[in-house]
């Protein structure tokens, strides 16, 4: 293409902007804002420590969490068992270190499932509107009115309690919230002029949904997915506490569930995995809040 003559210099007409704009990628900007936020950085470092401990902790500690290493109900501080032992005499610290793995995996995978199903259904409902929207939202409401814990218990009871079924159960009961959130964002963005402009550029529905509208709808979805991860960990613990956890897999919830009858005699058997859950969910919540603040344009002005 030939270059149009530059006899009128637009840079003279609009000098203020040229000076004012410092090319700064919004993603980088959001990351900096996130890291400058004290509580978010605290959450992130807590989470990093927890993940590292779960990854390399069991190897370093070297005690088999399933082995009976001491007398049952040895209190914390007992030589050889820093956090004491449970009702079978198994080392609590070894259990907490290894138990983080299934807990975190279930939390993350279930959250990913929740967000994935929810975003897909929310996209379709919000973008197409009309009868598709009505049908999908009725379907969503159907899942919303079912008590989540009961439905998950039914699913886990029908199939055998394994990590897979628990993850599936959490994912199936959790998605309606993400669907409604995504749908609301799509309804807001769908009729904005830039979407119309992309449509007049000849874009297909698929392209408009995933390349044009979804990126703009992501900020609240990202925040929700962080909080959903925390929620899924709690949900897994709740199921395990009720005895529906995978008995072959030592997760924090399973530890609490197996020791819950001895809560009054040996508080440490339940409290120490409980504190681990608490700290993990707290860290995730802090990270979620931090992302929310970093992605919220109003916060940038401060």
């Amino acid at each position: 293409m030939s270059v149009v003559s530059m006899d009128k210099s637009p840079s003279v007409a609009e000098p203020a902007v040229v000076l004012a704009s410092k090319p700064q990628n919004p993603q980088v900007e959001a990351l900096l804002l996130f890291l400058r936020n004290g509580t978010a950085a605290l959450g992130l470092s807590m989470m990093a420590i927890i993940v590292v401990m779960c990854l390399i902790g069991p190897g370093l500690y070297g005690i088999d969490p399933y082995a009976i290493v001491n007398v049952p109900f040895a209190p914390p501080g007992t030589p050889g068992a820093l956090f004491g032992t449970d009702f079978l005499g198994r080392d609590i610290l070894a259990g907490v270190l290894i138990g983080g793995r299934p807990t975190l995996i279930v939390g993350c995978v279930a959250a990913a499932m929740t967000i994935g199903i929810g975003v897909l259904i929310g996209c379709m409902a919000g973008y197409f509107g009309g009868w598709i929207d009505r049908a999908l939202m009725k379907f969503t409401e159907f899942f919303q009115v079912l008590p989540a814990l009961l439905l998950a218990m039914v699913i886990v009871s029908i199939f055998e309690a394994s990590l897979l079924t628990i993850t599936l159960a959490i994912g199936i009961v959790g998605w309606p919230q993400a669907a409604r959130l995504t749908r609301a964002e799509f309804l807001r963005i769908r009729d904005l002029e830039y979407v119309r402009a992309t449509r007049t550029a000849g874009a297909r529905d698929f392209y408009l949904i995933f390349n044009t509208i979804l990126p703009g709808a992501l900020p609240p979805i990202i925040v929700a997915s962080a909080l959903t991860t925390g929620g899924s960990i709690l949900f897994e613990s709740g199921l395990s506490f009720l005895g529906l956890g995978d008995p072959n897999m030592m997760s924090w919830g399973v530890m609490i569930g197996q020791n819950r009858n001895y809560l009054l005699e040996a508080w440490w058997t339940v409290s120490i995995p409980g504190i681990a859950i608490f700290l993990t969910v707290l860290a995730i919540s802090l990270i979620g809040d931090g992302i929310n603040d970093a992605l919220n344009p109003r916060m940038r002005k401060r």
Binding site: S11, A13, Y194, A197, G202
Partner: protein
Amino acid sequence: MSTAPLLEVTDLVVEVDNGKRILPVLDGVTFSVDAGRTLGLVGESGCGKSMTALAIMGLLPQGFRVKSGDIKLDGKSLLSMGPDALRKLRGSVMSMVFQEPMTSLNPVFTVGDQIGEALRLHEHLNAADARTRAIEMLRAVQIPAPEERVDNYPHQLSGGMRQRVMIAMALACRPRLLICDEPTTALDVTVQAQIFSLLETLQKEMGTSIILITHDLGAVAEMADDVAVLYAGKRAEAGPVATILDNPSHPYTRGLMSCTPRLRLGSAALTPGHTLAEVRGMVPPLGQFEAGCRFSPRCPMADAHCHAAPPPDVHLGASQTVLCWKVTQEQAA
């Protein structure tokens, strides 16, 4: 240049079904645009200008539909095309620039990504080639330092620059028809003049036909070769710009012209001039049109005849068409 017009809109009737009633939006709109020429589509808000544009693009909102008439691009009827064929034309053969440069760009992508979008969709360019073409387009719309601007996000640009980016997006695939829906309404006058001269330069270079939708007759005088005045979904008057502005025959066109402010500077600004005229009343809402001439409730010349029956199209001279009983009567006399 071929003699057949690039775009022919014939007796276009568009209706909206609001759930209770079916209301007419456009009623027998006819105009044509020759290759490389500019048509000004003029009227107040609610006269159907934007609906005409959306009907051409095949993007009428839900509930709206074309009842009759035809839209031909290059001799092929757009209305008989399937949605996929129409989608392939959008952005490549015909494209559109919107009114609000502040909201017409996607805030989460760089301008380079957005200019390259049409190229990736239609010409299947890879990212690197699309970027090169985007830089070329930014240079063509006279944005300084295009190699840096291509990586900017819309919020880093001023209104005028964003509208240039919009034009670059619309022209990326060298469309034959460009619809500009009030492209300068949101911009200040100096930028407005720059945008118009830019559009003219690009039009000369690419041979693109332009439909300029506006309510500003000053813009029409500056840019357009032909003009069509819409009122309440009907074409009130049409013809070459020079003829219409020189000899406006429809009372609505005359009213619009007397509403255009004239700049008085220096000592003239101190002397009292006449106050700016107005066209009294409002465009009637959809479905509440007069049985006779739709402009008659606001027309200073209207008589009983005007209120009773809708006027026919009258040809004045070689190229001017007017929809007015008064002109008909004058001609008969």
